[in-house]
Symmetry: C2
Subunit: 177 residues, 2 copies
């Protein structure tokens, strides 16, 4: 692949994951993917900023992969964003280290598609809840790709997980071109 892909993966309870861990395992078996399992790397939430910034520089595409927790990412994903995307690196002072790189969110939700709408139990379209992440990347000059979304992840059949994993690999291959 011309374009190596960096996946930042944040799941606070990886052993309870029904979908995410399989997606991450399959993805990181591909030779053009590098995966950072943030809760494994940083169990005390102390992100190695220099290492993360160096990894970003070495990759042409960045994926944030996480289960939706309270209509957003788990907190360590946000700590990564807050500490790694700093003025003088990703923006500010004429620096824009991520400009032109591809960006994709890969998100799973426990609730199904119909639960995410005005007046439904989860109140708004999923796109509303992904807006902070996509706008962060846009502010850094990245190209926003359509998100990879798995809804109803709590009761998904094992056979469906295989199919979804293939779809994910296909999307990642697209990012790697």
């Amino acid at each position: 692949m011309a374009n190596p892909v960096l996946i930042l993966y944040a799941h606070p309870s990886p052993n309870r994951s029904k979908v995410n861990r399989y997606l991450f395992q399959a993805a990181t078996a591909l030779d053009f993917i590098r995966g950072h399992d943030l809760y494994d790397l940083y169990p005390h939430m102390h992100v190695d900023v220099a290492a993360e910034q160096q990894a970003l520089r070495q990759h042409g595409a960045v994926v944030l992969q996480f289960p939706l927790y309270w209509y957003s990412a788990p907190s360590l994903m946000k700590e990564w964003i807050d500490t790694v995307l700093t003025s003088g690196f990703s923006h500010g002072g004429g620096e824009q280290a991520l400009a032109g790189k591809k960006f994709m969110v890969a998100v799973t939700t426990g609730g199904g598609f119909n639960a995410y709408a005005d007046g439904a139990v989860h109140g708004a379209l999923l796109s509303t809840y992904l807006a902070p992440f996509e706008q962060t990347a846009r502010f850094c000059g990245m190209h926003i790709e359509l998100p990879f979304i798995v809804q109803g992840a709590g009761d998904i059949a094992a056979s469906a997980v295989n199919e979804i994993t293939e779809q994910y690999k296909s999307r990642l291959a697209g990012l790697g071109e």
Copy 2:
């Protein structure tokens, strides 16, 4: 006041705050307010869940006060949400400890009002970025109050801070009724 108010305050760089710290200081001087300065209480991001849940039970209104960081709250605010609002406390299993309480976001932004719109530098209305927090409270059965918003907080005049502080105290008094 009939209704004691709990403020959860999250600012990772409190000494650089131009507005938030004055709002929090003025608020916590009021006798019906209890303030938890999360970055002061939990510098290693290890939230005392039992203490936070007990405080929530003792108050009739809850305020999340923070500066907008990358279109969301600073990460410790999210860690508080992820760890404190658990199944069997705020939702699930017939429990809904926060039901009927008032909820308000108090947020400051560095960018001005006009920067938050479709096509503007910050991409969407501020209400879009507050949606995850308000929907979290709504899911827990809380009554959502209009947010308290200060925009352009980076270059605000000292005289304006006094006026804004009075407005904040007035809003808090309303929550306390």
